[in-house]
C-alpha cells in the first residue's frame, strides 16, 4: 500500500469522523439552546397574556390569528371556562398541569405547553403551546448551516491533503525512482539531494554502502587483471627459457619435456582460475549486448584449431546465424571451455561437432564428441570445482584442473541457461547442451543481480581458497 493513499484515507476518515461527532454534539447543544430560548419566550408571553385584564371581546382579532402563523396556540381559562383561544388551539385543556412546562400530544402532533395561573382555583389561567417540531427544525437549521460547508469542502479537502502529501513525499518518490532505474551493477552514488530530516540519513547510508561496495568490486576487478599480469609474465619467461634451454641442449631430454608439460599445465590452471574470477557475476553482468553466437563459435574454433589439428581431430560447426543477448567475453569463455574440453577428452583422430538450434523459443548450443563420455552417475559432480572424472586414475597426460565445467556452469547461470549432459547419439561421446532462454533476458538480469551478493562471497572465497589448495596438490 502506498504511504500517500494510506495517509489520504486515514486523514479523510478521521476528519469525517470528527466532523460527524462534532455535528452530533452541536445538534444536541443547539437543541438545548433552542429549547431554553423558546421556553423563555413562552414564559414571557404567558406572563404578558395573564397580565392583560381585558375582556375577551376587546381582544384584537389579529392576536388570535397570530398564533396560527407562528404555530403558537394559546387558551385563556377562567376557572373551568374557556374564555379565549387561538384559532389553532383545541377546545380541551391543552395541559392538565396547574402551572409550569409539560409536553403532550394533541391535534396530531407533540406540543410543548406552558401553564400560568393567577392566584387561586377560580382565577385566570393561560396555557401556551408550541409544537416541539419547531425546535427540531431550528436546531437542524443551525447545525446544517454549520456542517454543510465542511461537507461540501470535503472533496476539496481531500484534493488538498493529497497534494500536500504528494509534495511532502516528493523526496521519497524521487529516491524510489532513482533506485528503481539503477542498473543491477550501477554502484554510482545517488543523485537525490534532500534536506529532509528523515531521508538524509537514508541517502547518506545508501551512498556510503554504494561507495564501499563499488570499492570492493573495484578491488575484485583489479585482483583479476593484476593477478593476470603478475602471473602471466613470469609464466611467459618460464616458457621462453625452457625453449632457450632446449635450444642450447640441442637434443630432447625427458626432464625437459616434463618441464615443458608442467609449465603448460601451470599456465592452464592460472588461466582457468582467472577465468573463474573474470566470469563472476559482478564482473560480467555489467555489459550485456547483442552477441552473434555463430561468429563467436567460429572465432573460438579458429583460436583452438591448432590444438585440434595437432591431434588430428576433425571439428565441424552446424549453425544458422544466431543472435543472443549476453556478455560476449563470458560467452566466449563458455564456448572455449566446452570445445577445448571436448578436444582434450577425445582421442587423437576423433570428431567434435558443434551446433546450434532453436527449440521452442530456446536457443540450444550443443557440443558433442567421440570421446569416452561421462557416466550418468557422474553428471552432477563434474560441475564441482577441481572434480575430475576418474579421480586419481585420471589420464595425467591431459592438461586440466577440473575447473572448466565449473566455469561453464558459472556462465550458464549468469545467462539463465540450462546445461544438460547426455550421450551423443551419433558420436557416442559426451554431449553438452546449453539452452538459453531467449525471451526472459530481464529475468536473467534480475537473477544475475540477485546472485551477485552470494556470488561475490563465493568467488572471493574461491579465489582465496584456490591458491593454497593448488600449491598443496
Amino acid at each position: 500500500m502506498s504511504i500517500r493513499r494510506y495517509l489520504v484515507l486515514i486523514l479523510l476518515s478521521v476528519i469525517t469522523l470528527v466532523t460527524f461527532i462534532a455535528a452530533i454534539e452541536g445538534y444536541n447543544a443547539s437543541m438545548q439552546k433552542a429549547s431554553s430560548i423558546f421556553d423563555a419566550e413562552l414564559k414571557i408571553l404567558a406572563n404578558t397574556l395573564i397580565a392583560i385584564e381585558a375582556a375577551p371581546e376587546q381582544q384584537d382579532k389579529t392576536l388570535l390569528e397570530a398564533g396560527a402563523q407562528t404555530n403558537l396556540a394559546f387558551q385563556l381559562w377562567q376557572g373551568n371556562d374557556l374564555v379565549l383561544k387561538s384559532n389553532n388551539a383545541p377546545d380541551r385543556r391543552m395541559s392538565q398541569k396547574k402551572s409550569g412546562f409539560t409536553e403532550n400530544n394533541f391535534l396530531g402532533q407533540r406540543w410543548r405547553t406552558y401553564v400560568k395561573s393567577s392566584g387561586s382555583d377560580g382565577g385566570r389561567m393561560v396555557i401556551l403551546a408550541q409544537p416541539v417540531q419547531r425546535r427540531f427544525e431550528l436546531a437542524e437549521d443551525v447545525i446544517l448551516s454549520a456542517v454543510l460547508p465542511i461537507i461540501l469542502a470535503m472533496p476539496l479537502l481531500a484534493l488538498f491533503i493529497s497534494l500536500t502529501i504528494r509534495q511532502a513525499l516528493k523526496p521519497l518518490t524521487h529516491l524510489t525512482k532513482e533506485l528503481k532505474s539503477k542498473k543491477p551493477n550501477d554502484l554510482s552514488l545517488l543523485q537525490t539531494h534532500t534536506k529532509t530530516k528523515e531521508l538524509e540519513p537514508v541517502v547518506y547510508t545508501l551512498n556510503h554502502l554504494f561507495e564501499r561496495l563499488s570499492g570492493a568490486f573495484e578491488r575484485e576487478r583489479h585482483f583479476a587483471s593484476d593477478a593476470a599480469h603478475e602471473l602471466r609474465t613470469p609464466l611467459s619467461v618460464l616458457k621462453i627459457n625452457v625453449h632457450n634451454v632446449r635450444n642450447e641442449l640441442g637434443h630432447e631430454s625427458q626432464a625437459m619435456s616434463h618441464l615443458t608439460e608442467s609449465v603448460d599445465r601451470m599456465a592452464h590452471v592460472v588461466d582457468q582460475i582467472l577465468m573463474l574470477n573474470r566470469t563472476s557475476p559482478e564482473q560480467v553482468s555489467l555489459d550485456s549486448t547483442e552477441v552473434n553466437l555463430t561468429s563467436l563459435i567460429q572465432q573460438t574454433i579458429s583460436d583452438l584449431y591448432p590444438e585440434i589439428a595437432q591431434r588430428e581431430q576433425t571439428i565441424s560447426l552446424e549453425s544458422e546465424e544466431q543472435i543472443i543477448r549476453g556478455n560476449e567475453f563470458s560467452l566466449r569463455i563458455l564456448i572455449q571451455n566446452l570445445i577445448s574440453n571436448a578436444s582434450k577428452y577425445t582421442p587423437d583422430g576423433g570428431a567434435i561437432q558443434v551446433s546450434t538450434a532453436r527449440v521452442q523459443e530456446r536457443l540450444v548450443l550443443v557440443v558433442e564428441d567421440s570421446g569416452p563420455g561421462i557416466k550418468p552417475e557422474e553428471y552432477q559432480r563434474v560441475f564441482n570445482r577441481f572434480y575430475r572424472v576418474g579421480g586419481d586414475q585420471h589420464n595425467s597426460k591431459i592438461i586440466g584442473c577440473g575447473l572448466g565445467l565449473s566455469i561453464v556452469k558459472h556462465i550458464a547461470v549468469l545467462h539463465n541457461a540450462d546445461i544438460e549432459l547426455s550421450q551423443s547419439p551419433e558420436l557416442k561421446g559426451l554431449k553438452v547442451s546449453v539452452s538459453f532462454t531467449q525471451e526472459n533476458n530481464k529475468v536473467a538480469r534480475l537473477a544475475a543481480n540477485q546472485t551477485t551478493n552470494q556470488a561475490i562471497n563465493k568467488v572471493s572465497s574461491t579465489a582465496n581458497a584456490l591458491l593454497p589448495e593448488d600449491s598443496d596438490g
Binding site: S225, A228, H229, R232, T233, P234, L235, S236, V237, L238, K239, I240, N241, H243, N244, N247, V263, A267, D271, L274, R278, Q298, I301, S302, Y305, P306, A309, I315, S316, L317, E318, S319, E328, F329, R332, V354
Partner: protein
C-alpha cells in the same frame, strides 16, 4: 630482420632476445613507451614487438602515436590482459597481430615469419608445406618442383592459407584479401576458387572446417 622489442619485464625481454637471436633476428630492446617512440623516429627497424603493459604509458597509446606519425611498420602486440576488448582495440589501432601471454614461442616465430615474408626480408621467400612450394617473391606455386598455373585470385587464396598454415581462414578473411586486390567478389567466389585450387593441388591439401572456414596443415 631487425626487431624492436618493447618490454619492461627484464627476464622476459632477455629470454625473448635470446630466442629471437637464435632464430637469426636482430633484436633491439627498450623498456619504456617513450624510448620506443624515440627509437622508431629513425627508420632503422623492420618491425616492433610491443608489450601493452608499459611503465610510462599504455602500449595502445604508443601504437596510436606510432600510427599517427606515419609508420606502417608491422607491430605484434603482447599482453598479459585477456580481455577481448584489448585485442579488438589493438587490431583497430593498426596492430598486425596479437599474442596473449603466456604465449608459445613457436607461435610468435610463425607470425614473425609471415611478416618477414611480407616485408621481403626473409632469407627465403618460399613457403614449403608437404610437396607444395609457394614462392612469394616470384608469385609462383609448384608441386615437387613442378610449377603449376594459378589465376591471380587462386594464388591470393592459396597464399592466405599457406601463410597461416595450421590456422583456420574464414571465408570472410579470405574475401577481404581478395578485396585488397581490388576485385569485386561474388558471394560464392571463395568456394569457387577453393574448388579450382583443389583440382590443381594434392588431395586433402586444403581442408574444409565445416561451418568455419578453410585450412592447410602445417606439415
Amino acid at each position: 630482420m631487425r626487431i624492436l622489442l618493447v618490454e619492461d619485464d627484464m627476464p622476459l625481454a632477455q629470454g625473448l632476445q635470446q630466442s629471437l637471436r637464435h632464430e637469426g633476428f636482430v633484436v633491439n630492446h627498450v623498456n619504456t613507451g617513450q624510448l620506443a617512440l624515440n627509437a622508431l623516429a629513425v627508420p632503422d627497424q623492420d618491425m616492433v614487438i610491443l608489450d601493452l603493459g608499459l611503465p610510462d604509458m599504455d602500449g595502445l597509446s604508443v601504437l596510436k602515436k606510432l600510427r599517427n606519425n606515419k609508420a606502417d611498420i608491422p607491430v605484434i602486440i603482447l599482453t598479459a590482459r585477456d580481455s577481448i576488448e584489448h585485442k579488438v582495440k589493438g587490431l583497430d589501432f593498426g596492430a598486425d597481430d596479437y599474442l596473449a601471454k603466456p604465449f608459445d614461442i613457436h607461435e610468435l616465430l610463425a607470425r614473425l615469419r609471415v611478416i618477414e615474408r611480407r616485408l621481403g626480408t626473409a632469407k627465403t621467400s618460399v613457403i614449403q608445406l608437404g610437396s607444395v612450394q609457394l614462392d612469394i617473391a616470384a608469385h609462383k606455386v609448384g608441386i615437387d618442383g613442378q610449377d603449376i598455373n594459378l589465376s591471380k585470385k587462386e594464388y591470393m587464396v592459396l597464399k592466405a592459407l599457406m601463410e597461416n598454415a595450421g590456422r583456420i581462414q574464414s571465408r570472410e578473411q579470405i574475401e577481404s584479401r581478395l578485396y585488397d586486390w581490388g576485385e569485386e567478389v561474388a558471394s560464392n567466389a571463395v568456394e569457387v576458387h577453393v574448388h579450382n585450387l583443389r583440382k590443381k593441388l594434392p588431395e586433402k591439401f586444403i581442408q574444409t572446417v565445416r561451418g568455419v572456414g578453410y585450412t592447410v596443415n602445417k606439415s
